[in-house]
């Protein structure tokens, strides 16, 4: 590629043609402030509407200031990034944005982590001229099972629209209206609940302000913890331990498993368990289902549907129920680990400790916002009592820990309780793209071949490429595997399945880019994809450190089958651990 040379703030820099001023400046270590712009490098995710104009710079010979995020470098260009003219322009732009923004920072869920707030601070805004006369545009608040939309705080950066349309191809959100009433909203400005939204939470993950946030369930959790008649158990998803530390100033990729357990115990949970246990259980059920379908298929049984699709991601389940209802028999019927955990906790474990399921409260800590919706689905309740009562995100847990005046940094390492706290490395890697299928391969291989694996790391299944594929040799039988993360990538594989062109035997899908480690409930990455990579590395490290790394070797799983479930895919297992899928009808509710 052709290289060009330009000068930014009196420093020369060589960049490939096509590079933006913003990126060239970053190469020099010059930080040009941005607001609407966001990029997840290496993940093919970029938002560049050139809308906010915070990033303006002065280009010699041009009359107008140029937005650095959208202006391409030219050979010999001379750019100044922080002249007085630029500073004034940025300030004016910011004042304009703030004139139509509520001054709610005291009670805003995003306060302290808000890009708008820190930009206002950085630019030294102390008053907003004309704010007392300008009427602010106001919108109806929208609360769904997972997400709250408070568009009074929307600055029209359109990051959410990009995530929902370009990355996820869900198309629930679009820019609507114009002028001051412009907003990003579902069709007909209906609630998110009546849109194709999957609750993946990727819009929340990128929203720079408090316009999109999760529904906070910590107040309810606090209430049950204070209720002496309730036994409260908590389960923590694999991706949480790889990210929670970030909220306490730790380096991304710091594993805080033990400290998190101690914090949860200190918060008053009666039993601290691990969703990873249920992940091992998922592998037993899903792996058995895969082998069953594969064997039937090899014997020429035409009713055996292949490829089998993983079903542990509720965002993904929502997606195919809406867009591919004709394929609803294709995914595995195995419930997600969150729901398997709830079902076992409220049957097997409740019996063991002799507590009525109504007095047993199950709380899950999830990197995910779709899990909030999932635990509210009708089929996951018994007589109105949910298997999982509340699902709170990694971010909510961090806030909860801080409220209790605990500093994760100073806590001792604790151990999960038995029996639902024991897990293998296979359960851990569920948290990252490729992990579920790698865990399944480890178990399915050994069950199918009757041989021990001589290598446990299937590096060919790892990585951040949006769609990946690999063929694994099951002792003479080639098992072809596809992996997609991000719903747009999943859609490509699903279209092939629909057209009968798919070559795969099994496909893993996770709705969020990077898998659960990049989930909508995780600490905000603010556009830094290195954070997501560091979390993935931490997950694989935890796997490596585990003495047991295959789900079927988990002694408590073996015991659970012996004492309670019988065999994988037994009738009892089916009743408790499997589910079915529904066509999601469009619900148009038109306002009168």
């Amino acid at each position: 590629m052709e290289t060009i040379t330009l000068t930014i703030d009196n420093k020369k820099v060589d960049v490939p043609r096509g590079t933006t001023i913003l990126k060239a400046a970053r190469q020099l270590g010059i930080d040009i402030p941005t607001l609407c712009y966001m990029e997840l490098h290496d993940m093919n995710i970029e938002n560049r509407p050139a809308g906010c104009r915070i990033c303006v710079t002065e280009v010699q010979g041009r009359r107008n200031l140029a937005p650095a995020c959208a202006t391409k470098c030219e050979d010999g260009m001379v750019v100044k990034t922080h002249t007085t003219r630029v500073l004034n322009a940025r300030r004016t732009v910011m004042e304009f944005i703030l004139s139509d923004h509520p001054k709610d920072c005291l009670i805003c869920p995003k306060s302290g982590n808000c890009e708008l707030q820190s930009m206002a601070h950085k630019l030294g805004i102390r008053e907003i001229p004309g704010a007392e006369i300008a009427a602010m545009s106001t919108y109806r608040k929208d609360t769904s099972p997972s997400i709250i939309r408070d568009l009074d705080k929307c600055i029209m950066c359109r990051r959410c629209e990009m995530m929902c349309n370009d990355v996820q191809t869900v198309g629930a959100l679009s820019a609507v209206n114009r002028g001051f009433m412009a907003a990003v909203a579902p069709a007909f400005e209906q609630n998110l609940e009546h849109s194709p939204c999957t609750y993946c939470g990727q819009c929340v993950a990128v929203c720079p302000t408090g316009a999109l946030t999760e529904v906070d369930h910590t107040p309810e959790v606090l209430r049950v913890l204070a209720d002496p008649t309730k036994t409260v158990v908590v389960q923590t998803a694999p991706a949480v331990r790889a990210a929670l530390g970030e909220e306490f100033g730790m380096k991304p990729g710091t594993l805080v498993t033990g400290k998190m357990v101690t914090a949860l115990r200190a918060l008053g949970f009666d039993y601290v368990f691990d969703t990873d246990f249920a992940a091992d259980l998922t592998i037993m059920e899903e792996g058995t289902e895969l082998l069953d379908r594969l064997n039937r298929y090899l014997k020429g049984d035409k009713t055996a549907r292949l490829p089998i699709l993983t079903s542990c991601c509720p965002g993904w389940v929502n997606f195919f129920e809406y867009y591919f209802p004709d394929l609803k028999e294709v995914p595995s019927t195995a419930k997600s680990p969150q729901q398997m955990f709830g079902a076992i906790a409220k049957s097997y474990f409740a019996e063991k400790i002799k507590v009525n399921r109504k007095d047993l409260v199950v709380v899950s800590i999830m990197p995910c916002l779709a899990k909030k919706y999932e635990c509210q689905r009708d089929e996951f309740s018994v007589d109105g009592n949910r298997d999982v009562d509340f699902s709170i995100s990694t971010r909510e847990l961090a806030a909860f820990i801080k409220q209790a005046n605990l500093d994760l940094n100073n806590l001792e390492e604790g151990e999960f309780d038995a029996p639902l706290g024991e897990s293998t490395g296979a359960g851990v890697i569920f948290g990252t793209t490729g992990g579920v299928i790698e865990a399944a391969v480890r178990t399915a291989y050994e069950i199918h071949t009757g041989k021990k694996l001589d290598r446990i790391d299937f590096t060919e299944l790892r990585g951040l490429e949006g769609v990946r594929q690999a063929a694994i040799d099951f002792d003479g039988l080639e098992v072809r595997i596809g992996i997609a993360h991000g719903l747009g990538n999943a859609r490509k594989l699903l279209n092939d399945v629909r057209e009968g062109k798919s070559q795969f035997h099994a496909i893993e899908v996770m709705a969020c880019p990077g898998g659960c480690i990049g989930g909508g409930g995780q600490p905000l990455h603010h556009g830094n994809s290195e954070i997501i990579k560091a979390r993935a590395a931490a997950i694989y490290e935890e796997d490596r450190k585990k003495p047991l790394r295959k789900s079927h070797e988990n002694p408590f799983i073996i015991k659970l089958y012996e004492e309670f479930l019988g065999k994988p895919n037994s009738e009892k297992a089916h009743h408790l651990l499997h589910t079915k899928y529904f066509e999601k009808k469009k619900k148009i509710i038109v306002k009168q």
Partner: protein, 162 residues
């Protein structure tokens, strides 16, 4: 945004499909498809947008975004007696704006709106080619010339029993 829930008849659905097909179901042609549909239905209710969404394979949120962005698209059905006030140059200089204000006041409507009983809707037009009669008001097929604000109440009276 207000709009009224309608049931599309089979022939309406066929008509929308036909319009989409005439543009090869090409998502790039969305604006043209919307124009044609509005020409046919008089407005673009949610249900029409839903069908277009399926035909062109464009999320309905995006379609709604386009409909609400361009002022020439409307989601409000015209009234039984659609009132159009000419805002062309000749009418404008002869006081069309005051006439429009009077209609707004009498009906409690803004331009682009329809009375709750569906009787009147209000819109403004560019020159209708009757400049000699300026300011010009049209209600349905009927044209009124040299309208003064004081005439508005009487004009509306004519429709009292329809």
């Amino acid at each position: 945004m207000s709009s009224i829930k309608i049931e599309l008849r089979q022939e309406d659905v066929s008509k929308i499909k036909e319009i989409c097909a005439s543009f090869n179901n090409d998502p790039q042609e969305l604006i043209n498809v919307l124009h044609k549909c509005q020409e046919h239905f008089g407005y673009l209710p949610a249900e029409v947008q839903e069908v277009i969404s399926t035909e062109l394979n464009v999320p309905v949120a995006k379609i709604y975004g386009v409909v609400t962005f361009y002022s020439f698209f409307t989601m409000t059905p015209r009234g039984k007696h659609p009132i159009s006030i000419c805002m062309g140059t000749a009418c404008y200089v002869r006081g069309a704006e005051k006439v429009l204000e009077e209609f707004k006041k009498e009906l409690g409507l803004q331009v682009g709106q329809t009375t709750p009983d569906g009787k009147f809707s209000l819109s403004s037009l560019r020159c209708v080619g009757a400049c000699g009669l300026a300011p010009v008001v049209m209600i349905g097929d009927k044209t009124y010339g040299r309208v003064a604000p004081d005439d508005v109440r009487n004009i509306l009276k004519e429709y009292e029993n329809y």
